[in-house]
């Protein structure tokens, strides 16, 4: 019965196969706290070849596989059930090569997103997708979730920045997808796998596009007395033809939380909203855009406008914004973050609607989001020890997503579907759409062993993730 475990131990060394019940409990959750599940085992491979061996052993034993980078998924993408084995990629964390001439970085899946930009910086390059969890999240996870981040407004998401990848497929074979030219022949297999949430293949080596650091960059904080005016300013800026590198918004409750956290900026306490706007590019263009943006902000009753005067100040502002989710722990026992997307012009109305949904379900909601591309992150605050509140928070979350679909948006911008939004998938997609998606899964993984129970609602399959509490 333990045949497969012994084979894994033999292949990886027993210290890299975890079965201790307390160790498995440490792996029971990721960044999504509304569910948990204890895996059958956790293995830590050190190379592509080891990943392939593990997949083959587990295929023979009919065990499912859940890949995990840093476990920061906000949709439960790295949560496993008791028939699954977690592949933790923390030991595959090397940056293998940087081709400065062609601007390509060759990396392991377990490399931390921010470390890539750090390694590229001495040569004047950076890796653009910057999820707010970039100080911890790994590139393999970014590949699986097609992660975004504040700067995706201008630079695009993970999909636009991975040129080539080696993957291990559910049948234990390997494939190299894409090419270094960035324009492969035939079907876009790489595009299919990026964002498939580990359900079709597992990346074991990635070649990333590096971009030159823009020659000029200016970062502003626009302080507002009204969320509505701030939202309208966002629409106006895009309408005026300016594409900022990033345009982020936080509302009063979110500001209240981050100001108690590790990186306070010193916002006035009575502020209703703040926009964090970054412009980058050629100096002359940035200057011209700056004038346009200033004009719009002034017309929208901005209370005050600050410009970062040093790199330290800019870094602090971003750290303040990027730790906003975690800072919810300061004002609430738990939070449930939504990831809905809406057309930008309905922003003011959307925030109003979210506020009313919060009132109706008696849930406090903080808003932190990528305003520029209409990607909302309402943070629904709840106490996990209050079953009634847990039920209400899930309902309120669903209601927000239903609204996003109604106004022509989507249920997920960048956090993935995971186990969180399975039900809402059926609202977003017609039955035929889902059927088509299911047949892709069937073609790649007929046994359903790669990250089962995620992304696609599978009628009839019994999933034993425990709801929390």
């Amino acid at each position: 019965m333990t045949g497969w475990l012994d084979q894994l131990r033999q292949a990886l060394g027993s210290e890299h196969v975890l079965t201790h019940p307390i160790a498995l409990t440490a792996y029971a959750q990721d960044g999504y706290t509304l569910a948990s599940g204890r895996p059958a085992a956790v293995v830590l491979p050190a190379s592509s070849a080891e990943v392939q061996t593990v997949v083959q052993i587990l295929a023979a034993a009919d065990k499912a596989i859940v890949p995990r980078g840093a476990g920061t998924s906000l949709s439960g993408g790295a949560i496993a059930d008791s028939n699954s084995v977690i592949l933790h990629f923390s030991r595959m964390n090397q940056i293998h090569a940087i081709d400065w001439h062609n601007r390509v970085a060759e990396v392991d899946p377990g490399v931390v997103n921010q470390d890539i930009s750090r390694a590229l910086a001495p040569g004047g390059l950076f890796y653009a997708p910057d999820p707010s969890s970039q100080q911890a999240c790994t590139i393999g996870g970014n590949f699986a979730e097609n992660s975004g981040g504040p700067h995706c407004l201008k630079y695009g998401v993970t999909l636009n920045h991975i040129l080539m990848a080696d993957v291990v497929l559910p049948d234990g074979t390997t494939a190299r997808l894409g090419n270094l030219a960035g324009e492969p022949d035939g079907p876009d297999w790489l595009g299919l796998l990026i964002g498939s949430e580990g359900t079709l293949g597992i990346a074991t080596r990635l070649w990333l596009r590096a971009l030159p650091i823009p020659p000029a960059s200016r970062t502003f904080l626009a302080l507002f007395d009204s969320v509505e005016e701030a939202s309208r300013a966002v629409s106006d800026i895009i309408a005026a033809g300016v594409i900022p590198a990033a345009m982020e918004m936080m509302d009063k409750l979110a500001i209240h939380a981050v100001e108690q956290g590790a990186y306070p900026v010193g916002y006035p306490e009575d502020l209703e909203a703040v926009l964090l706007i970054e412009l980058d590019g050629e100096p002359a263009v940035v200057d011209a855009d700056r004038r346009v943006v200033h004009g719009i902000l002034a017309a929208r009753q901005v209370r005050a406008l600050r410009e970062a005067e040093s790199l330290e100040e800019r870094t602090l502002w971003w750290a303040n914004r990027k730790t906003a989710f975690g800072a919810m722990g300061l004002i609430s026992p738990r939070y449930y973050v939504q990831d809905g997307v809406i057309p930008r012009h309905v922003l003011p109305e959307a925030l109003d609607t979210i506020g009313r949904i919060g009132e109706r379900f008696r849930i406090r909601i903080a808003n932190v989001f990528h305003a520029g591309d209409g990607n909302l992150h309402p943070l629904l605050l709840y106490n996990h020890q209050d079953p009634d509140e847990v039920a209400r928070v899930k309902e309120a979350g669903s209601e927000i997503l239903a609204y996003c679909i109604r106004v022509g948006g989507s249920i997920s911008g960048e956090h993935g579907i995971g186990i969180e939004k399975l039900q809402e998938m059926a609202w977003q997609f017609a039955p035929q759409d889902l059927l088509a998606q299911r047949s892709v899964k069937q073609a790649f993984d007929p046994g359903g062993r790669f990250n089962p129970g995620k992304l696609l609602p599978t009628p009839g399959r019994c999933i034993d993730f425990r709801p929390v509490p």
């Binding site: 975690g326 800072a327 722990g329 300061l330 026992p333 738990r334 939070y335």
Partner: protein, 414 residues
């Protein structure tokens, strides 16, 4: 204070945690340790040697606390677990007693220094090498990292107080006093150059950090009372300290005492007065410009950057003294010394040391590290490469001001 229950699982602490970095295990991350603490409390069957090991591997470096958006004091929670819930995870009583004996009084420190000096004589060195295989690896690395000792006396015995009207209580520490007495003297010289007057009470005790971290807070409390009383008698306004570990411990004195203790307010007053020497000197020394200074890189001791938020000050002190600072990657990651961690967890300690030394830039001659544990530990790994040296930033600054004729060279006393 926030508790393990308040963790929202964001995972931002993982990349900051040295033990997660070297093991890649969730159980060896701050987020994982909070889960383990929860299990420890709720499930008696969790009380096994593996779980205790994962928790006890925590270095107390506080890096997780620096980055936690929810302000969870994970390091403090593990420390409290060690002293209250897992006495078996404490270092062996014998080790603690030896440390109490050696670090606890000027007489013990004098013996400690004699032993260290003896291990560096030809005979002592030979003896240590003959018996090396029986010594724990940690002890060998301490020996290898010992500074070149010049002085024969404890620094407190040779540092003259400036008498009445002193604004600074100079805290000499234990290991600093015994092994790095010259650094203490240099710190005193620079403080005087910056216009301060010093008082150096002879009866001051070890800060108690090691005992506190290893689960013996009673000893730490006892020594704290002595230090607080001496500070009150001195009439000084500031407690100056040049060891990061001591500074962090002194700044947490109030938490050693229960809220209703008569010592609470006195400890609060004391800890508010504590300042690191680099904080005091960062902007107050005359700027020097030197073309010939060797390039310096900075290692930020955990108890500087994570426990006290000191990082800029070290660089500005070195900059003022005319050094060009080239940054090392991961300057804020623990070097593995971590109090007596190098004695209790030699393997992880060595893994961290290797990682740390690999980050020293090629062109740096000096690595500035403001903590005796880091100095010794990192030097022990460097011994073979003779061209690099791990030095306290105060020593580097002092050399610059001596070369500029602003500090007098002291004759080596015997």
């Amino acid at each position: 204070m926030a508790n393990w229950e308040d963790c929202v699982h964001c995972g931002l602490c993982l990349s900051a945690c040295p033990t997660y970095q070297v093991t890649g295990l969730e159980m060896e991350s701050p987020r994982g340790r909070l889960v383990l603490l929860n299990q420890w409390r709720e499930q008696p069957e969790a009380h096994d040697v593996e779980t205790r090991g994962w928790l006890d591997d925590c270095l107390d470096c506080r890096a997780c606390e620096s980055v936690c958006p929810s302000n969870i004091p994970t390091g403090h929670l593990v420390e409290a677990w060690r002293s209250q819930e897992a006495p078996e995870a404490r270092p062996p009583r014998s080790l603690i007693q030896v440390l109490e004996l050696l670090l606890g009084s000027p007489r013990g420190l004098a013996w400690f220094r004699r032993m260290a000096r003896w291990s560096q004589t030809r005979w002592g060195d030979w003896m240590v090498r003959q018996t090396a295989r029986w010594l724990p690896p940690g002890a060998r690395s301490v020996k290898a990292g010992l500074p070149a000792l010049h002085s024969r006396g404890l620094s407190r015995r040779r540092l003259d107080s400036d008498g009445t009207g002193s604004d600074i209580f100079f805290f000499v520490g234990c290991v600093m006093d015994a092994l790095y007495s010259e650094t203490n003297e240099h710190a005193a010289d620079l403080l005087r150059l910056a216009g301060h007057r010093l008082t150096i009470p002879q009866g001051q005790r070890c800060c108690g950090a090691v005992h506190r971290h290893s689960g013996s807070p009673e000893t730490a409390r006892h020594w704290a009372e002595a230090n607080i009383a001496l500070f009150e008698q001195s009439g000084a306004e500031v407690v100056a300290v040049d060891a990061a570990g001591c500074g962090a411990a002194l700044k947490e004195y109030a938490s050693l005492f229960p809220p209703d203790s008569p010592w609470q307010e006195r400890a609060q007053h004391f800890q508010n007065a504590v300042q690191d020497v680099v904080q005091l000197l960062a902007d107050s020394l005359p700027p020097l410009s030197r073309q010939d200074a060797n390039p310096v890189t900075v290692h930020d001791p955990c108890h500087h950057v994570h426990a006290q938020g000191i990082a800029k000050e070290t660089r500005s002190l070195l900059g003022r003294a005319g050094y060009a600072v080239t940054e090392m990657r991961e300057s804020t990651l623990c070097c593995g010394s971590a109090g007596i961690y190098n004695l209790t967890h030699p393997d992880k300690s060595q893994a961290l040391l290797t990682r740390k030394l690999a980050q020293i830039p090629d062109d740096a001659t000096y690595v500035a590290a403001a903590n005796p544990g880091c100095l010794m530990h990192m030097q022990s790994g460097l011994s073979a490469q003779s061209h690099k040296q791990v030095v306290h930033p105060v020593d580097l600054a002092w050399q610059a001001y001596r070369d500029a004729g602003l500090c007098a060279t002291r004759s080596v006393t015997s």
